[in-house]
Symmetry: C2
Subunit: 211 residues, 2 copies
């Protein structure tokens, strides 16, 4: 598989279907990072998505429900270790040429990992990149307004917007931002850095958010 | 500072200058992650860039020479620990409204951390996002062709292109891709996941690259 990509390029590896994908890396800041990563992958039901891992990252592809379900589950499973864990992800839909794994688009919409209700205080920094359209800043503004209404938005920073809440709340806002924005452009990318169990204090304005 | 951002949004926090920025997180997969991160920051001369850290990431801003110099140095310093270390970064230029830190644009172009010649085998997965223009795929194709000519390109994967080489080679290709592409669009974003000392084997076609 990888071999066939040898002389391809980013563009060539990307169809016309609305298959959603996420390339992510899981970073447990621990000497036990290998079992934590492998355990999180094993404890997550990935049967409704295409999956491929390499030495740098893992890619999951399919319906958006299952892509977000799987990525959230992997984060939650790793969070249970109690270690400082960060998941860095790029979500994408509509990348030109993107068809591999289309068979997974015929899955139903029943999420396989909804049973994991692990609650962990989570911070995320995310950015939306609506490609090929001049009105991309409007798409971003609208998504941020939606996150404000959901109560998770906690400020703009250079190159990103911040979300705070439980992992369940943060992932819900990320999925909403992605799915809503994806209706406004053919090719949408969203990046997110999602963190829990950090020994560093959150910024003061975030700590005061609930007051 | 952060407080004033409280009710801003991603767009509002982003001018018209060509100041380059990078928001990155450093992930040492080790129980010693705190001293490794703090040590890498302390051992890097950041006097020619604007710097701000929070609990999730660090943002550096200034001339592209210094942004890439500082980010590379931080990666190299952390790599010296021998631990599996990954740096996840978003580079950006031309984000609408992006002026804070413009004073750093008057620095000269002498890089402050060039003395660090640490050599470490490095893998990177990167993606370019030229914003607001219909020809964005052409910008991406050209950058990949340039990396092929430099010898670092090692294949397209979903949502990214892969680079392999020493850290010095990989960072040079990343900077070239960013700087060249930034002349073709007003607002350019590049993401990169940069890894060293991983216990996982590189894909077979990458291992055979030098043969």
């Amino acid at each position: 598989m990888t071999n066939s990509f040898n002389h391809n390029i980013q563009a060539a590896a990307c169809g016309t279907s609305r298959i959603v994908g996420c390339r992510f890396s899981l970073f447990p800041m621990s000497d036990r990072f290998v079992p934590i990563i492998l355990g999180a992958l094993e404890q997550t039901d990935t049967s409704k998505v295409w999956v491929q891992s390499d030495d740098v990252s893992t890619c999951v592809r399919g319906r958006h429900e299952h892509v977000f379900d799987v990525v959230k589950s992997i984060f939650l499973q790793a969070a249970k270790s109690g270690e400082h864990v960060v998941l860095s992800a790029t979500f994408s839909v509509g990348c030109p040429g993107d068809t591999e794994g289309d068979v997974f688009m015929s899955e139903d919409d029943v999420r396989l990992n909804e049973g994991n209700k692990t609650s962990v205080d989570t911070a995320a920094q995310f950015a939306l990149y609506p490609m090929g359209v001049p009105h991309y800043m409007d798409v971003i503004y609208d998504a941020v307004k939606a996150a404000e209404a959901e109560g998770t938005f906690s400020g703009g920073i250079h190159y990103a917007s911040r979300l705070d809440g439980t992992a369940q709340q943060v992932f819900r806002s990320l999925e909403n931002a992605f799915v809503t924005s994806s209706t406004k452009t053919s090719h949408l990318v969203m990046t997110a850095t999602i963190s829990c169990n950090s020994p560093s204090a959150k910024p003061e304005h975030v700590q005061r958010k609930g007051e």
